[in-house]
């Protein structure tokens, strides 16, 4: 694969053609906030956090844009901040659970995003509270799904699709009530637990983990 360079935040960075901006930045140790990107899966740009600013000022989702020789991008700018920060604040406000006691704490992508953006709790407190908590889905024999922690990154759905051809997990509902569910297909689950493994937060949890807690 041919090599090329792009400019990220004023620094020349080596890139492989075919890689996306996000992949290139991450490989170069340059973090860009992201929640729905997962190596090996088709990027869908659902979380909208990986916005970067192009030379012409346009904001684009870096997970879906392949690098082009000579590209100049910024990962931090007032425009990016205005677009992305409120999204993260909303996500935190709607994330019902506390980190203490969450099995994902310490390797949670949402925590990484929060600390990278230095989220100000005061700004989060301005927001109206989320709707009531929803019950945990315990349908699967090997893992549970907690809609109150779910960020709807879709990684579990795309993982299931990639491994089994067609995903047994689906989105159901609309608006803020959207969640992920088996929709009656839980018996077909081969319990490979890849979806649980890749969950970037503490939404999908293997059952023994919960009991051990």
């Amino acid at each position: 694969m041919s090599k090329l360079t792009i400019n990220i935040d004023g620094k020349e960075v080596q890139a492989k053609s075919g890689d996306t901006i996000l992949e290139t930045a991450l490989a170069a140790g340059k973090y860009i906030p992201h929640l729905c990107y997962c190596p090996g899966l088709k990027p869908e740009a659902l979380c909208r956090l990986c916005l970067v600013e192009m030379a012409d000022g346009e904001l684009i989702t870096s997970c879906r844009v392949p690098v082009v020789r000579g590209m100049v991008i910024k990962t931090k700018s007032p425009a990016i901040d205005r677009a992305v920060r409120p999204t993260v604040e909303l996500l935190i406000k709607y994330h019902h659970e506390r980190c203490a006691g969450c099995p994902a704490s310490g390797h949670c992508e949402l925590q990484t995003v929060m600390s990278h953006l230095k989220i100000d709790r005061k700004r989060v407190r301005r927001l109206r509270p989320p709707p009531a908590k929803r019950p945990i889905d315990v349908m699967n024999r090997c893992f549970d799904y907690d809609p109150n922690r779910c960020i709807l990154c879709g990684i579990c759905i795309r993982t299931c699709e990639a491994i089994h051809g067609e995903s047994l997990l689906y989105y159901i509902g609309r608006g803020h009530e959207t969640k992920v569910a088996f929709y009656g297909d839980e018996k077909k689950c081969e319990t490979c637990l890849k979806c649980v493994e890749r969950c970037p937060v503490g939404t999908l949890l293997a059952k023994n983990l919960i009991e051990a807690k």
């Binding site: 916005l51 409120p86 608006g175």
Partner: protein
């Protein structure tokens, strides 16, 4: 049999049907036989005639005698009036309060004569379930002409006409067709977008109900132009009459050889199939609509992505246009690009169709040339605000459009002017508001719709619109907080900038535009606990 002297047109648009037009027509038929007038007049049912508010409507041709709010009790009098020398049924005529006189023919009613009904030319005039009516009105002539042209010539004609898509984005139709025609592959598709999920909108439904053949004809011509042989008409489930009449029209077009193999003796094959959508607003978005036809959940796909004209339905090059966009095509082919381009403004050609509703004297389905001023639409065609109340704002473009104040009434209605004012053309909703409307409450109403219709896949739209709705809800309940206006602006900006599809990207418009033009109303609610319009009962 002698030539029938009169035709009694009974509007069977959804509005008139809900007012009892079905039974009215039956009563007219029965009475016609009873009064032995079958030789004098025939009864014909039509699609929407436009002036829905005065329905059920009956028009007697050739004079265009226009009876409004007709009930079954009026049937004997109407038929009696057909006898030589008999007077008109004056109580049913449209009464013009400006000249204080009843008006005999609809051609003279201000609601109609200020309009230019090009796309709607057949709506309310022909029987949509009788292809001969469409043929008598010049139907399928454009198809015959198009089949004698080269596909490139058709595309050039559509490009030169300046027609822009009427589904919302206003993308140049000719360029879209050109892109699809140049995409490689033998299998291509045509899709007609009849999702029309906006609350209160009925333009596309009315065209499908009133003149389905014009849409089919446009789709066939599009198919021939790009080399597609199959078309899908995506119509929402909630539109039973539209689905039925389109189905009848497709069947009749097949029988007469306008659809199917070797159309009109040419080598061109094309057929259309109806796809009934589940009625989600977001399924009107092009990529979601394509997924929906493929049997998947209708979720928009993020940019950057290949255009639908390259990778569309089942991965094939696809042209997706709005109902009204297709209905324009026969006009352009018949009359030529120059004829079409002579109407409208420099960048918006042809006509715009609106569902005019809200606090306006004459509501209904209207068509005006692009560039007509808002004032002419609301005050001349719409007859102004009822009850001597004052005009406050007009909202265009459906749930994601903006609210424009009285200062903007002189603005010409076209794609670019509306967008620059913070609203949009959308698919053609137009809601008029009077002095008794609370702008915060209106913003809340639209946000309530979008937050529920958000497909839920991207964070800013899913949570952001809900949060905006919650803030607006607390403001109208007297629980607004000092920083709320800034917070709404911040959120609105972020949602517009970062959402995945145009639903989220435009959802904050009602809030941002009402803050831009009616900020004092927000402040009155938040700081004084007072609703200036007297609507929000918690704020007095």
């Amino acid at each position: 049999m002698p030539e029938k002297l009169r035709t009694i047109l009974v509007c069977q648009g959804t509005g008139c049907i809900s007012g009892g037009a079905g039974q009215l027509q039956e009563a007219l038929s029965a009475e016609l036989t009873l009064q032995k007038l079958n030789a004098v007049a025939e009864i014909k049912h039509t699609g929407c005639h436009g002036f829905c508010q005065r329905g059920p409507l009956v028009v007697i041709e050739p004079e265009g005698i226009f009876y409004t709010k007709v009930t079954q009790n009026d049937v004997p009098d109407i038929l009696h009036s057909l006898r030589p020398g008999a007077p008109l049924v004056e109580r049913l005529l449209y009464y013009d309060t400006v000249i204080n006189q009843p008006i005999k023919s609809f051609h003279d009613v201000p609601f109609y004569y200020k309009q230019q009904r090009l796309v709607l030319r057949n709506c309310g005039v022909i029987n949509p379930e009788n292809i001969d009516d469409y043929l008598d009105a010049g139907g399928y002539k454009a198809l015959r002409k198009a089949l004698a042209m080269k596909p490139e010539e058709i595309i050039k004609e559509v490009k030169d006409s300046g027609l822009r898509g009427l589904g919302g984005a206003g993308f140049p139709t000719g360029r879209k067709w050109e892109a699809a025609s140049q995409s490689p592959g033998n299998v291509k598709y045509i899709i007609c977008n009849g999702d029309e999920g906006d609350p209160g909108a009925f333009q596309d439904r009315s065209v499908l109900e009133g003149d389905p053949h014009s849409v089919i004809e446009g789709m066939i011509i599009a198919g021939y132009a790009i080399g597609a042989h199959h078309g899908y008409a995506y119509v929402r489930n909630e539109y039973p009459f539209a689905v039925h009449r389109l189905g009848v029209a497709i069947e009749q077009a097949r029988q007469r050889g306008y659809l199917g193999k070797n159309i009109l003796g040419s080598k061109f094959n094309f057929d259309v199939e109806i796809f009934q959508g589940a009625g989600a607003f977001v399924c009107g978005e092009s990529t979601a609509l394509v997924l929906s036809i493929e049997g998947k959940r209708g979720m928009p796909r993020s940019l950057p992505r290949p255009r639908t004209t390259e990778v569309g339905l089942w991965g094939k090059p696809t042209v997706l246009n709005n109902v009204k966009t297709y209905a324009n095509i026969p006009l352009i082919i018949n009359n030529g690009a120059a004829w079409f381009a002579s109407r409208g403004t420099e960048k918006s050609k042809g006509t715009a169709i609106f569902s005019l509703t809200g606090k306006v004297v004459n509501s209904g389905l209207i068509e005006v040339v692009m560039g007509t001023r808002l004032r002419e639409i609301i005050f001349d065609i719409g007859g102004g605000i009822p009850g001597g109340r004052a005009f406050k704002a007009v909202q265009t473009g459906g749930p994601s459009g903006g609210c424009l104040p009285a200062e903007m009434l002189n603005m010409p209605v076209d794609f670019d002017s509306l967008t620059s004012a913070g609203s949009m053309m959308g698919s053609g909703g137009m809601v008029v508001m009077d002095q008794d409307t609370c702008m915060v409450d209106i913003a809340r109403y639209f946000l309530d719709f979008t937050q529920r219709e958000s497909c839920g896949q991207c964070i800013p739209c899913r949570i952001g619109t809900k949060q905006m709705f919650d803030i607006l809800d607390s403001i109208i309940k007297g629980r607004g907080k000092p920083g709320d206006i800034d917070l709404l602006l911040e959120l609105g900006h972020s949602i517009k900038e970062s959402s995945l599809c145009a639903l989220g990207q435009s959802a904050p418009n009602p809030v941002l535009s009402t803050i831009r033009y009616f900020r004092d109303e927000y402040e009155a609610h938040i700081f004084e606990g007072h609703c200036p319009a007297g609507v929000c009962t918690h704020c007095l």
